[in-house]
Symmetry: C2
Subunit: 241 residues, 2 copies
DNA sequence: TCAAAAGTGTTCGTAGTACACCCATGA
DNA sequence: TCATGGGTGTACTACGAACACTTTTGA
């Protein structure tokens, strides 16, 4: 079994990922409960190998949790306040509870390394939630999708990171046409609209929204989707390119 | 005299600043010739103290070069490819030319530290160029204002960093009203327009530009400025807040 | 025949663009 | 009186917002 080896990583520099998914008309974020302590939740994060690009490090973190390659991924902000340390969480642990961390294959040195102050590069990722089977990482107890508006208290400034990620997503959604990464391969116009409403947390006018999206010229209209409901069947669309 | 002490800094993490100034209708960037080697130019950069926020580190780098506090400053991108190292520049130097670096107060260890691979946080800053007396930093031979379109070859990916900074500046100019940081306290509308034209590298229609800027509601109209030229005297403006 | 939801068209107001005109200034 | 550059007004266009109307579907 592979062990966590801090000496392979750049010290005091980390990557934290805000992985967005969309389900049941809700925008969700993947969070993980960390393996030490009780009920500490965090964003999926990781460290950067000494000979690894930062984007590659983020991809590795994502792949570890989602098993997906080829994910839309973008850095959006660096968090570098001096109070960014896990000292409270990790630092005191060796004295208080020696057996819990040694039995999990971590040494005192590992804890000291982890309890340093870290500068963290924030990434956000957009995934088709149905293609993901969440998988826990090396330092995770478990991982879970949580609605963005119902995030629990996360460690350090991770709640702030998630908020900033949402703002970055909103800013880039229109100009970069990245929202379709959150949808399945085919979808109705209503589904696109509900996605946008979930992201911006505000309603859009149906007809104007349809016009705006179609005018982008990036959707292909496919056959109609008969839902069995007593109303006109909507078209299915596919994202081009 | 204070000596460069790598052990005080976070390893493999740096800050690079693109300091924008405006003069003679040209957008300029402050670059520095580094103290080692021949004719190696770089963006003003520095490192982050182990107990220093990243914004504070960038401020320190700026203050070192410009003697200004209270500068508009914003991170815009992290550069973290694996090929980001000064190995070519610093790594071979100890063997080839021992006396040049020791006489300047640097040790072999310093060079090894510097020749590592670095992840660098890019900041851009906007200053009133007339308020700046460029001052060289600890690792600088000299510093100089250079027109952005006439930058020489810089070390590593610093040319790319400067280009990305310009794009970030353009993106934020309108929505954040930051351009006035580049101008003196009072200015004419023509000067604002010429600044915008320098930044976007394209002409604007005079009347529409005036309307757009005044509609922002952030300028105060002062007395007229009589230049002695044979034409109507323009108003002077001041940026509010 | 009806309700529900989809698709499409029309109008209105605003913001940006292009064009035109007048004014102040000093030679 | 003239050239130069500054200030302002008007018409055209594009885009989004608000409103209205028609069509399809299965009960």
């Amino acid at each position: 079994m592979k062990k966590f080896q801090p000496q392979n990583f750049i010290a005091q520099l980390s990557v934290d990922c805000v992985i967005f998914g969309y389900k049941d008309k809700k925008l969700k974020v993947l969070i993980s409960k960390i393996v030490f302590g009780n009920d500490f939740w965090s964003l999926p994060g990781g460290f950067i190998l000494k000979n690894e690009g930062i984007d590659d490090a983020a991809k590795r973190v994502l792949q570890e949790r989602t098993s997906l390659t080829d994910i839309f991924l973008e850095q959006f902000h660096v968090f570098g306040n001096t109070d960014r340390s896990n000292n409270d969480l990790f630092g005191k642990m060796p004295e208080t509870n020696d057996e819990t961390f040694t039995e999990k294959g971590f040494s005192k040195n590992d804890f000291e390394w982890l309890s340093n102050r870290f500068v963290s590069i924030g990434y956000y990722a957009l995934v088709d939630i149905d293609k993901v089977k969440p998988k826990k990482g090396e330092l995770d107890e478990c991982v879970e999708w949580v609605e963005i508006s119902e995030l629990p208290k996360l460690i350090m400034d991770h709640n702030l990171i998630a908020q900033k990620a949402l703002l970055a997503l909103r800013q880039n959604l229109d100009q970069k046409l990245i929202g379709f990464n959150l949808l399945p391969d085919t979808f109705t116009m209503r589904e696109v609209q509900e996605l946008y409403e979930a992201i911006y947390d505000k309603p859009f006018a149906r007809n104007n929204f349809q016009k705006k999206i179609l005018d982008l010229g990036v959707l292909e209209r496919l056959e109609k989707k008969f839902t069995g409901a007593a109303n006109k069947a909507p078209y299915l669309y596919r994202f081009l390119k």
